[in-house]
Symmetry: C2
Subunit: 421 residues, 2 copies
Amino acid sequence: MKAVILAAGLGKRMGYMSKGTIKVAGREILYRTLEILKELGISEAVIVTNSRYGEEYGEFIRKYGFNAELIINRHPEKGNGYSLYLAREHVDGKFILIMSDHIYEKAFLERAVRGEGLIVDASPKYTCLEEATKVKIEDGRVENIGKHLKDFDAVDTGFFVLTPEIFNVADDLLLERGKAELSEIVKMAKLGVTFVSGFFWMDIDTPEDIKKARKLIVRASVKGKGDGFISRYLNRKISTRISALLVDYVTPNQMTIATFLLGIFSALLNFVSIPLAGVLYQVSSILDGVDGEIARASMRTGRFGGYADSVLDRYVDFAFLLTLAYVSIKEPLWWVIAASAIFGSAMVSYSTERYKAAYGSDIYSDIPAMRRLIGKRDERIFLTMLFCLAGRIKVLLLLLAILTAIRTAGTVWLVWKNREN
Amino acid sequence: MKAVILAAGLGKRMGYMSKGTIKVAGREILYRTLEILKELGISEAVIVTNSRYGEEYGEFIRKYGFNAELIINRHPEKGNGYSLYLAREHVDGKFILIMSDHIYEKAFLERAVRGEGLIVDASPKYTCLEEATKVKIEDGRVENIGKHLKDFDAVDTGFFVLTPEIFNVADDLLLERGKAELSEIVKMAKLGVTFVSGFFWMDIDTPEDIKKARKLIVRASVKGKGDGFISRYLNRKISTRISALLVDYVTPNQMTIATFLLGIFSALLNFVSIPLAGVLYQVSSILDGVDGEIARASMRTGRFGGYADSVLDRYVDFAFLLTLAYVSIKEPLWWVIAASAIFGSAMVSYSTERYKAAYGSDIYSDIPAMRRLIGKRDERIFLTMLFCLAGRIKVLLLLLAILTAIRTAGTVWLVWKNREN
């Protein structure tokens, strides 16, 4: 199947911009759609735009190397039905039709590409109903469609799975009236509908929509499976707000390095003020979520990013506990406890990651009980801050040494209990 | 395809034992063959044995749950060609014929099952030529076959890929002479040959053969990819000898626990004698290879075993360096260095394993340059022993702190250089 993208609108409410190439959360709307479709096996596209935005879309296709043809609609006044009609020579058999200004999450697209006719949503969560195109359905087919329907069953998602017969309907309408809107074609064809409800999708009409979409995308990009208590209820609430602010300006790698430097700085701060160092360490823990959130939100996830981030995190923890112990402790026995806390911090991560290396899958997915095991990094750092503020460093080190040992032992025990081999 | 196993021999030179169920390196010969064939998609077997060993093979099939039929040859005096003939009602189409007393490595079987006719080896490395059945080949077919051929081209591997036509030849011979040897049938049928040369396979005729096979199997079970210099040239030379001695009596898990306890004991020995502790630590490093060797040699590899072994290794290193530092050091600055050495030891492993978790493949396979990076565990432990013997503990800790930091940085750098994403 090919994908036909309708991108001939003028984007008036956007201040006349080609909406498909507008960046939302660090990525062009159309990049998101085309990239996910490629993953789903649909790698060829036909983009229909107007003469005003032709160059922009040409540049976009070249930049990312998409396998897409560009068609210029020289008569945008004939309606978006005419844009669809222009694609008729470029598709054969079943094809997909998408609006260039719609953002869809992957789970939506996975289901939509397997549907037929007009994909509708019975319970759109993220689209403002007033602005939405409503659909009245009878016998599984479109009975009526329009923005101002009072009586309707679902909302038009801007996603269609069509056969070439649709071009005959468009042809008829164009011959009769000299212009054709997609909604008129859909109604005349009494197009079949497929329900795909409850997933994230939005059409971007105004600058406010961009802000709203950015927020939703960043929130959805939290990889929460391995999050501890503090992450879930404190760190993520703050980090997603920061991510939404930064996603358009900062790359994930820049964020990783900045967070690492802040962590090392917080460790050095132990020489000056332990309470202040503790607070900054907790701040770096909050920021530690941002690189991953930005990476997933802007579709820039790379395996090296995750790898380097994990290694650097271990060094931050090491540096912090080491400087803390150095300025607070003189006796060898307490150094043994400090070394146990340092080593234990590394082992918590090691025993988790080593599982993935051995079993090839995520420990939190395979063993849900892992999520109830306390002592994750976010929780340990929060504890560290509290004890730094209270000035109880020896108690902290003892607590961390015990906590990390228990968590590592608990991890091995859970793996053993769940093992098949 | 089904596999027909000829197991009706009396095993005279073995002191009358059913050879297929004899354990070699901790596993029955036939278990090895049937288990690998199952991995290759051949899961049905027909075992032809005599009335003396029928119960033994029945027990063997039940114990491991193999999908195998048992046929009793009540006239073993009619030759092994008659055993083959008895299988005729139990196969349809192409089938595999194997001798129960042959051990084959997986690489051999992978190729052999794709061959046709008699599988022969032009350069058998592990079989004594005097005892071998030789084959003279003409036009790709067996011209002559026998133990005492002077002029021959290859050696019979005891592995055949046959069609039911072979039963007609067997039938003719049995009618004519009342008995039939497989070699006569093969010669009469002028069976085609396929060369599969240079891989490990052996037939087990005598107790000496068992010893020889055990040694070769253990040696082949060294997982050498991640081995450092000391492992390759010292530890493995000793550990494989120990594995060959223990493989029939000790399970991999027992060995893992024993090695761990010895490592912890060596750490505690630092309170008594540092040089002695250093030597014992190196001994535990040698023994550390044995559990994996035994596991692979006896086909008992489990993911949990590898996982637990890795985690326990970190604790042994931690315990040793911690006790060493505790008995040798008083000043905080040196404790910082000791903590760096302890943490660094964990990070070397972490940065390697985290790669597998991120990229899903082995870092030593993906990045061959990793093998030249010094500072692996075997090398560090050997260094530790040397410095313990020399009584230079502070120098050792400093060296380890630097070495592990360099190796971890080198690992991250190599991953970065080789990254695609």
